[in-house]
Each structure stands twice: as C-alpha cells, then as structure tokens.
C-alpha cells in the first residue's frame, strides 16, 4: 500500500505541475515549486532500492533542467544566473561524483535522522516487507496512540467502506437520516448489543438533528437527488401518536443529551 500512496503523490504532483503551465507566471510559481518537489520526492522514495543508480540520474536531470531554464532566461533577459549556476553544479555532481551522490541520495531517502544525536543513524535500505514490519513495530507520530499495532486489518477497511457508504447516503437522502443509518450499520458490523445499538443510533440522530436545527438545515437535503426527507418535527403521524409537538420533544432531547 505504500507504493500506492507514493504513486498517488507522484501522479498528482506531476499532473498539477503540468497543469500549472496554463496559469499566469505569478499564479504558477508556488504550485510548480510544490508540485515539482512532491513529484521528485515521491519518485525518489519509490525507487529507493535503486537509488545508487537513479539518484545521480535524477540530480543530473534536475541540474540540466535548471541549467537550460536559467541559461535561457539569462541570455534573453539577463536573469536566472543563480539558477544557471546551481543547475551546472548539480549536473557536474550527478555526472562526475555519481557514486557519492548515489550514496547520499540513499541515505537521504532511507535513513532516519537523529536530531539530538551526534551521528546519523545508518541502516540498511528497507525493503517493502521491511517497511511493513517497521511500521508495525515503530511508534507513530500520531497524536492519539503511543503504540501503533493493527490487530484486525478488517477494521480500518470496513470503517473506510462504511464512511464511503455514509457519504453516498448523505448525497442521496441528506445527513439527517444518513447519520443514524451509518451508526446502525456500524453497530451491526461490531455485533453490538441491541439495546446499546439502539441508544447509539438515537444519540446520532439527536446529534444530527441538533446540527439541522441550530446550525444548518441544508444538511438534511440530498445533494445529488435534491430530495429532503421529512424532518421529524414535521411528521404529523408522530405528533398525533405522541400527543406532543415533536419539535419540542427532540429539542429537549438535545438539551438533555
């Protein structure tokens, strides 16, 4: 999956770099810089097992690109001298010192940096399997959990799938009723006790209603269908059955919760 992530960064970065050529020069400057950096870095990490070979090629390629761009700008308008010089230096480094550049590129991509230590930590270039193991064993920089281990790989997948279903339901029938349906599906997946599941579904509905009532009523409308299911405060059957205004009932539920 790491390769998929890197490919995503590479493709998106390349696409945005290419598309940015249609913007005005001022508008294109920053996106091209960032898109270029994203694409190059993603490529370097993707080919990390071949960096001794590819590293000098990438460096020389970058040098040639800057040398050409800077040289052209210098000849035309007297600008771009710095870019020309840097480009030439990179080209020379990539060709003449390719062994050292390759090793540096390898350490740039593969080795973790120790900021408090005096020496860099060196290690073997990790393989794909090694990366997966490393990810399981090392601490994450997530703010929530200290130790990151996946006990059940289906959990994240099902959660993601249910979120997509929730999104599609939102676009169809609006979030007011999509929310309790999502929670009901989740409760079914984890085989939750029926009473607790019902309470959780009720809580999610009350929460969604609070957003509908106090923040924005547009959340109840399906964006694709344009359909807005009848909100609970307008359900006449419910009012007749309970003999109380449903809007007040739900509002008090919100307050109590």
């Amino acid at each position: 999956m790491e390769h998929v992530l890197l490919l995503l960064f590479l493709v998106v970065g390349s696409y945005m770099f290419w598309e940015a050529r249609e913007f005005s020069p001022a508008a294109a400057e920053f996106p091209r810089l960032m898109a270029g950096a994203t694409a190059v870095l993603a490529f370097l990490i993707l080919v990390r097992n071949y960096l001794k070979l590819m590293g000098p090629v990438v460096v020389a390629g970058l040098g040639l690109y800057w040398l050409y761009g800077g040289g052209t700008a210098y000849l035309e308008a007297g600008e771009g001298l710095f870019r020309t010089v840097v480009g030439a230096a990179l080209l020379v480094a990539g060709v003449v010192f390719r062994k050292q550049v390759g090793e540096s590129a390898e350490s740039f991509v593969a080795e973790p940096m120790q900021v408090l230590g005096e020496e860099d930590v060196t290690g073997d270039v990790p393989t794909d399997e090694g990366d997966a193991t490393e990810a399981d064993e090392e601490e994450s920089d997530s703010g929530a959990m200290y130790v990151y281990e996946i006990d059940d790989p289906r959990g994240p997948v099902v959660t993601g799938v249910l979120c997509v279903v929730y999104m599609l339901l939102t676009f169809s029938i609006g979030m007011l009723y999509a929310s309790p349906i999502f929670v009901a599906m989740w409760a079914a997946w984890v085989r939750m006790n029926a009473g607790k599941a019902a309470a959780l579904v009720g809580l999610s509905f009350v929460t969604a209603y609070a957003f509908y009532e106090f923040i924005s009523s547009d959340i109840a409308e399906g964006w694709i269908t344009g359909w807005e299911p009848t909100p609970p405060d307008e359900l006449p059957i419910l009012e007749e059955f309970l003999q109380v205004p449903v809007a007040e009932l739900v509002t008090w539920s919100v307050v109590v919760v």
Partner: protein, 503 residues
C-alpha cells in the same frame, strides 16, 4: 507589555460567556484526553467547525481549553489502565500505573492534576512576562523572513520526526501543494486545476484536518483491540491530599520539568510527546535513587505531567508568532485562527491589532490551569469511568461528528469527499512513517507561505536573491535563515559526500 491592552484583556476574559467557554473547553479536553484513542488534535479538529458561530476570542479560548485540559486528561488512562490517552502522557505510565497497581491511583491522579496545573500556571506567567521581547522579535521580521521561517519550521519538523528525511519533506511539500487548488486567495489570482465550480474555493483545510486527525484515527482505532479497563480500578480519596503534598514539596522538579516542556514545545514538530520523555529522563538522571523509577516513584509522574502542560505555553510561541505549529494540536489551533479571520504573526502582537486577543488567550490558559486543578481533584474518584467506554461506541460518534461538522461549514460535497480521501491518506501515512504533522503544517501554512513568497518576489522584481543577498536588499535576517534551512536539510548529506570524496 502594553499595560492598557493587558487590562482590557482581563476585562474581556472575565465575563460570564467567555468564562463558560473556558470551563467547557477544559472539561471537554479532560474527557477527550481521558478516552484512549482520541487525543487533543482529534478533539480540537471536531470542535473546530462548531466554533464558527462564536466570536474569535471565545472560539480560540475553547480550542485552547481543550488542548490544555487534554494534557491532564491523558494521564487518566495512563495511570489507570497503562494506556496513555494521549502520547504526551506516555512517560506517565512508567510510574503512574505501578502506583495504581499498589492501590495509590488516587495519589497518582492528584499528582497529575496538581503538577499539570502548577507547571501550566508558571509557564504561562513566564510567557506573559517574556511577551514584550517576543513582540519586538516578531515585529522585526518582514515578508521574506516570514516565508523563510515557514520553510524553517517545515525543515525542523522533517528533521525531528521519525521516518526518513525524504518522507518528511514529501509530506510537507504535499501539504503545501493541497493549498494550491482553487484560486490563489491571498493574492487574488485566478488559478484552477479544474473548471468544476465546487473546487473554485479550493480544498477546505478544516476538512483536511478532520480527515487526517479524526477519520484516520478512527480507522486506526477500528483495527486495534484493548484500550479499555476490564475491571474496576479502586481510587480512594485519602490519596488525594498525599498527591497534592507530594507535588508541592517538589517545586524544583515541577519548575524544571515545566521549563523543559516549554522549551521543547517551542520547537516545531517536537511537541509534548518529546518533552514528556525528556523531562522524565532528566528526573531519573538527577535523582539520588534512579533505580526506583519505573516501579511507582511519584517524581516520575510529577516530571512527566509538569512537562506536558508546560509544552502548551511553549508551543504557542511559534504558533501565534509565525503560524508554525509546535505540535499537531497547535496546527489545529492555527487552523482555528485562520478560520476566524486571524493571521498569526505581527498583527497578533500589535496594540492596534489583536494584541488584546493574544493576552486574553494567555490569561484564559492561566484560568484553565486553575480549573484543571479544581476539577481534576474533585473528580478523581470518578475519572475511572472514562476508561470503561468501549471504542466501538466512540468510533461511530466521532465519524458522525466529523461528517456533520465538516458538511455544515459550507454545504459543499467536496468537503465530505475531502475528509474521506485525507482520512485514508492519513491512515497510510502514519502506517508507513510519513510525518502527518509536516503535512498538516503544509496545509495550514500554504496560503501564508505563498502570500509571503509572492509579496517578496514583488519586492525583488521576481528575483529569489532577496532571500540570499543581504547587500542588494539590505536584509540580513533572510540569508541567515536561508543558510539555516540549507544546513538543516542538506548539511549531513553534503558532509557525508565530502567524506566519501576524501576517502
């Protein structure tokens, strides 16, 4: 310090509505921090869209209250069930859980509350006293320097966080790239990758934050077992006074650990996770009985808990001064500032700008620490209930709140797609050691960085030499910052390459 502005800030803070938000923020923070699997970035990210109806001061105070309260709340699970509620309480486990096993859970929890509150109080006071110098520093920084400081913050994060250097840089660049979708807002330039109207306003950074911190975390949590108490943990009230006495009689440890937290917290990307361990290690090193640590030594709990609340003050320094988050939580806080039309930087320190708001925020933190002390000590015997809540109940509610909060902001379907896409990306980024904090920093700083870059290039007629050449542009801070960035990013590799050439 502008005394009049300070006095105005006191009056702005001590009104009923604002105080309600201070109390609410701290209590929500304690609960969020106490529930394993959540944490302050997630809690703040979910609350962020809900602050839209509030005025900027109340919104930021609420967010900061959550941040501060969660630092104490994280110790609850760490002490009671050997699972830190937040990563900044990891070191608290080492001695807090053994104390709990010895029947001294009440003592440990009250030490945590007292140490958190006292360290928070004096670090915020130190920050207030230091603020005039900080104001001078911030006002001396110009447009090119602000762009370079943003890059420097990004560079420091990529160095400090785990994983390879290239991964950290990639994460930062990708985060900055996200902000280039849609028209270039700060400089009002038309720029569209897609003709679709829904993308005209770009990708909402609040949706990105919620995806990265909430959805990604819930996906991770769904794949993990445990994290809840399986039985009753007895917490007796008699230990509470003992805990307070223990903390008060160790002022040096509290002071030293709080200062460590403050200094480490000011380093971008370091955060309370790092300060927690540094302070604990220092406490062990300076102790006459280092072998007693790890088996219920109260000083271990004092040191770790004092440091993580000290980090709150430290992390605010780069956040409010330059918009550089010291941690994931301050990244969300900066997002809150931007969402409410506030810009980190010089305007936050100008008397005719937002200086009063800045002082109000710091004073609110002072009050918040008092609330931590009061609420923490009063609720000690009941805090164990938090650890019994199954994550199967937490996950769907967090997802629902995330969806509702995001969608209600703009009623833009792109935002829903955004939180799912970045939720999945964030999940795999953490899984494969890519720095989420660098990515978040890029997303939060993107517009500010581009605005400063654009203005700098306008000043120099398009020449990048404004960042390097002090003689032509008369700016000496810029080349120094450029050199620091270059040394930080490429120094070790150039050194290795030169050694390779010599050998």
């Amino acid at each position: 310090m502008s005394f009049e502005t300070f006095v105005d800030a006191i009056f702005a803070l001590f009104n009923l509505e604002t105080m309600i938000w201070v109390v609410a923020g701290v209590i929500i923070g304690i609960i969020v921090g106490g529930l394993p699997g959540l944490g302050p970035p997630l809690g703040m990210a979910i609350i962020l869209p809900l602050t839209l109806p509030l005025n900027p001061a109340d919104a930021i105070i609420l967010l900061i209250g959550v941040y501060s309260g969660s630092m104490y709340g994280g110790s609850i699970a760490a002490i009671l069930i050997n699972t830190p509620g937040v990563s900044s309480s990891a070191a608290t486990m080492f001695d807090g859980y053994p104390m709990s096993q010895q029947g001294r859970a009440g003592t440990a929890l009250s030490i945590s509350a007292t140490a958190s509150a006292f360290a928070g109080l004096f670090t915020i006071t130190a920050l207030l006293l230091f603020s005039p110098l900080l104001i001078e520093m911030v006002l001396a920084v110009g447009t090119p320097e602000r762009f370079l400081v943003a890059l420097l913050g990004l560079a420091m994060i990529t160095v400090i966080t785990r994983g390879s250097f290239a991964k950290g840089l990639l994460a930062g660049a990708a985060g900055l790239l996200v902000t280039t979708v849609g028209s270039a807002q700060p400089i009002a330039l038309d720029r569209r990758y897609s003709e679709h109207l829904l993308l005209h306003d770009g990708i909402d950074f609040v949706a990105v934050l919620i995806g990265l911190f909430a959805i990604a975390e819930m996906m991770k949590l769904a794949g993990q077992e445990g994290g809840i108490a399986e039985g009753n943990v007895e917490i007796n009230r008699e230990g509470i006074m003992e805990g307070i006495r223990t903390t008060i009689t160790r002022p040096v440890t509290v002071f030293k650990s709080g200062m460590i937290g403050m200094i480490v917290g000011a380093i971008p990307g370091a955060g309370a996770t790092v300060s927690n361990f540094v302070a604990y290690s220092e406490a062990v090193r300076s102790s006459d009985e280092p072998d007693t640590f790890g088996s219920g030594n109260e000083i271990g709990v004092v040191a770790s808990e004092a440091s993580n609340n000290g980090t709150v003050a430290g992390s605010l320094v780069p956040a409010i001064s330059f918009g550089i988050p010291g941690s994931s939580s301050t990244a969300v806080l900066i997002g809150g500032l931007l969402m409410h039309g506030l810009r980190p930087g010089a305007s936050m320190f100008q008397a005719d700008g937002e200086l009063q708001l800045t002082y109000t925020i710091l004073l609110a933190l002072l009050v918040g620490n008092v609330i931590i002390l009061g609420f923490g000590l009063a609720a000690v015997t009941r805090l164990g209930y938090l650890t019994k809540i199954d994550t199967d109940y937490i996950i769907p509610m967090v997802v629902v709140l995330s969806f509702l909060g995001t969608y209600a902001l703009r009623i833009n379907p792109v935002d829903i797609v955004t939180i799912i896409v970045f939720g999945v990306i964030g999940f795999y980024m953490v899984r494969y050691n890519y720095s989420v904090i660098a990515f978040v920093l890029g997303v939060v700083l993107g517009d500010i960085a581009e605005d400063n870059l654009y203005t700098s290039l306008q000043l120099s007629d398009g020449s990048y030499m404004i960042f390097i050449n002090p003689f032509e542009y008369g700016r000496w801070i810029s080349p120094i910052l450029s050199l620091m960035i270059f040394a930080l990013l490429f120094g070790p590799f150039i050194k290795r390459a030169v050694e390779g050439i010599r050998s």
